[in-house]
């Protein structure tokens, strides 16, 4: 059944479906599968319901309203039901609900989760309509997350690069200026820690052991990597000389400029910041907004907050892990053509510009240069120029759930030998990726 539907989807792209006109009147029966696979835009008077799953608080209500309004201009009789999903437990839900006839039409996946569902055949192949969704204007590393084999399934939705958020008042007190090289960055962190030794738990650079996304920046900056694909086989790079050089810098910061517990992660860094225990931290572009927002400490540090992209060792900007998410159309969707129309709204210039305003990266390269806004937005736009991604493999999720990189970071932060830990993590990663 599933294979038949997928085949139909594939065919749809090739045949351009002259015959499909009018076959989309949403009959809802199982016999509608073949007709439902059409990616052709349905007529404007179509009556249907689109179920859309968007995750977490990243898409504000106002943006959802904007998308609905825009879509209603074209399809006034379609009701779009946006259901918010939580990141925790999302993979379980997708795994169980996407194969059912009651599947949502559009789902959002984290960019490190998407590959597994693309490989499994859970999503509609959108290769034939990629140009309508942004084509070459889409940010490359997010397209990479949305591509399996040569097929394009996951449309980039938004991105987030990592930046450094810092306290200007503390910089001033210590006579520091914004660092322009990695070396200056590390030195500034150590100085801040020394100068604020009277504050309990103070971190010059807040860098808990499990913040592996931040760790990646240092590995990449030193010329290292996690693993590279050589002719279909993953070859480990974590224990290469360059990677170890990067990891040694990480250990230096964690041991000498940082007071975050070695075995914790960065989920609560904004609270430590609000407690006045942090000089600098490395986080996603929206971190500044989190600190000044209701979840953090509004008003407390608003005036002295600053942001800059993590500097590279040769100057410039260090590569940063590009977080973000992708959207896909469920292979079980009754209305893939309609769903595609909604996806076009979500990736259009107008809608994507809104993301830039709330500390996220729009997925269109043409918008990156136009990013306006606060220091964080500017810093992120710069960081976004040099973003990298984890190995594109359907098995990557297991590296994360197996906490390989978390354990490595926690051990390094605890003072373990970098080479030993890197070698151990390298072996584990290679085994999983090639498994």
């Amino acid at each position: 059944m599933k294979t038949r539907k997928l085949a139909a989807v594939g065919l749809a792209g090739v045949l351009v479906l002259a015959a499909a006109c009018g076959s989309d009147d949403d009959d809802g029966g199982t016999s509608g599968a073949a007709g439902g696979a059409s990616l052709e835009a349905p007529p404007a008077d179509t009556e249907a319901t689109l179920r859309v799953w968007l995750n977490g608080p990243d898409t504000p209500d106002e943006m959802i309203d904007l998308a609905k309004e825009t879509f209603a201009e074209k399809y006034p009789d379609v009701s779009v039901e946006v259901e918010r999903q939580e990141w925790d437990g999302l993979v379980n839900r997708l795994t169980n609900v996407l194969p059912t006839d009651d599947s949502p039409d559009i789902v959002e996946m984290g960019n490190t989760q998407a590959q597994a569902f693309e490989a499994a055949g859970a999503l509609v192949d959108l290769s034939s309509v990629k140009d309508d969704l942004g084509g070459d204007d889409l940010v490359d590393s997010l397209v990479e997350a949305g591509t399996y084999g040569d097929e394009f399934y996951g449309v980039p939705y938004y991105g987030g690069a990592r930046i450094v958020v810092y306290r200007k008042d503390l910089f001033e007190k210590s006579g520091l200026s914004v660092p322009t090289t990695m070396e200056e960055f590390v030195a500034a962190g150590k100085k801040l820690k020394a100068d604020n030794a009277d504050v309990p738990n103070f971190s010059g650079i807040y860098f808990p052991g499990r913040n592996w996304q931040a760790t990646l920046s240092f590995i990449w900056d030193a010329g290292g990597d996690i693993a590279v694909n050589e002719g279909g086989e993953w070859v480990g790079e974590l224990s290469s000389d360059n990677s170890i050089k990067g990891l040694s810098t990480v250990q230096d910061i964690m041991r000498n400029a940082n007071a975050a517990p070695a075995d914790s992660d960065d989920a609560e860094d904004y609270l430590a910041f609000c407690n006045g225990e942090v000089g600098m931290l490395m986080g996603p572009g929206w971190k500044m907004g989190q600190i000044t927002g209701d979840d953090g400490c509004p008003g407390k540090y608003d005036a002295v907050l600053g942001a800059f992209p993590l500097p590279g060792s040769e100057g410039g900007v260090a590569p940063s892990f590009l977080g973000g998410s992708n959207l896909g159309i469920s292979a079980k969707s009754e209305n893939p053509g309609l769903a595609l129309q909604f996806l076009e709204v979500l990736t259009a210039q107008q809608y994507q510009t809104e993301f830039a305003k709330i500390g996220l990266i729009p997925v269109r390269k043409s918008l990156l240069g136009q990013v306006q806004g606060d220091e964080a937005a500017q810093a992120q736009a710069k960081a976004a120029e040099v973003t990298r991604f984890v190995p594109s493999s359907e098995n990557w999720a297991e590296v994360e759930s197996g906490t390989v990189l978390h354990d490595m970071g926690a051990a390094i932060a605890g003072g373990a030998d970098v080479t030993d830990e890197a070698t151990r993590a390298n072996d584990a990663v290679v085994e999983i990726l090639n498994g």
Partner: protein
């Protein structure tokens, strides 16, 4: 004797403090402003009601509450009835397949539930029972049944057989004797297993997450998850306030059945 009672009361008081402390900590936290939760400890439950406000204001709180209550009460009801009948069968009769039944039930209990998830969802999907109270109830009854059968069996064994036989001499049928004599006498067991089933169903998360995916069909534990923003941290105040509220119905249920049973036991004693 009275002096002894005084000693036990002191011991009980100490145990209460130790046992209830983490719950107390949860309640204290639920009154703290969010940004302050992860900072130096505070010992008194004073501060803000914002967290409770955000619980009540979040969409679908009441529908989730209603769903949870229905599923839980139905689970308790069905589990106790079926388990009582089965417990009587295995405790009072020697029949072919008795041991097999007990062992199979125990084996079922031994299977880690998570491993069955995709198949359970598939079955419910086939019956068109996803996103329905009935579907989740069927699953929960099956999961709590093994325990309730085994435990009630222990309680039925504890009821002297002679009491039933005496009733049968009086002209009662065997089945009738089970309901008139045995059932009231295993009331403490029914309460204990009933509370067990209640808490299991009330707090269950994993299956509720995938069986009930429509926003208006979610149960409370899944709904509570909405305070967890993944990478953007967690609204701990909301989680703690929500968890505090979630535990209240369990206590209410307990006090309710507890009084009923106390009355029932007294009534039975008078009758006997």
């Amino acid at each position: 004797m009275r002096r002894r009672r005084w000693l036990w009361n002191v011991v009980a008081g100490a145990v209460m403090v130790v046992v209830a402390f983490p719950v107390y900590w949860m309640v204290v936290t639920s009154f703290r402003p969010n940004a302050e939760i992860r900072s130096a400890p505070r010992f008194l439950p004073v501060g803000t009601l914002d967290n409770y406000r955000s619980v009540f204001e979040r969409d679908h709180f009441w529908s989730s509450f209603a769903n949870s209550l229905q599923v839980t009460l139905l689970t308790v009801l069905f589990a106790l009835i079926t388990a009582f009948l089965a417990a009587v069968a295995v405790a009072r009769f020697r029949f072919r397949g008795r041991v097999a039944f007990l062992v199979v039930v125990l084996l079922v209990q031994m299977v880690p539930a998570e491993a069955l998830m995709i198949s359970v969802v598939k079955v419910l999907e086939g019956w068109d029972l996803r996103n329905s109270i009935a579907g989740l109830t069927i699953t929960y009854v099956a999961f709590v049944l093994p325990f309730t059968v085994w435990t009630l069996r222990g309680f039925v064994t504890g009821v002297p057989r002679e009491l039933e036989e005496a009733a049968m001499v009086d002209g009662s049928s065997r089945l009738r004797a089970f309901f008139t004599i045995t059932l009231p006498l295993v009331a403490p067991g029914l309460v204990a297993t009933g509370i067990f089933a209640f808490i299991q169903a009330w707090n269950e998360f994993t299956f509720a997450l995938v069986v009930m995916d429509r926003p208006d069909k979610e149960t409370l534990p899944v709904w509570l998850q909405a305070f967890n923003f993944g990478a953007r941290g967690t609204d701990w105040g909301g989680v703690m306030a929500g968890s505090t509220l979630i535990t209240v119905p369990v206590i209410v249920f307990f006090l309710f059945v507890h009084r009923r049973v106390a009355q029932g036991l007294t009534a039975g004693a008078v009758k006997g």
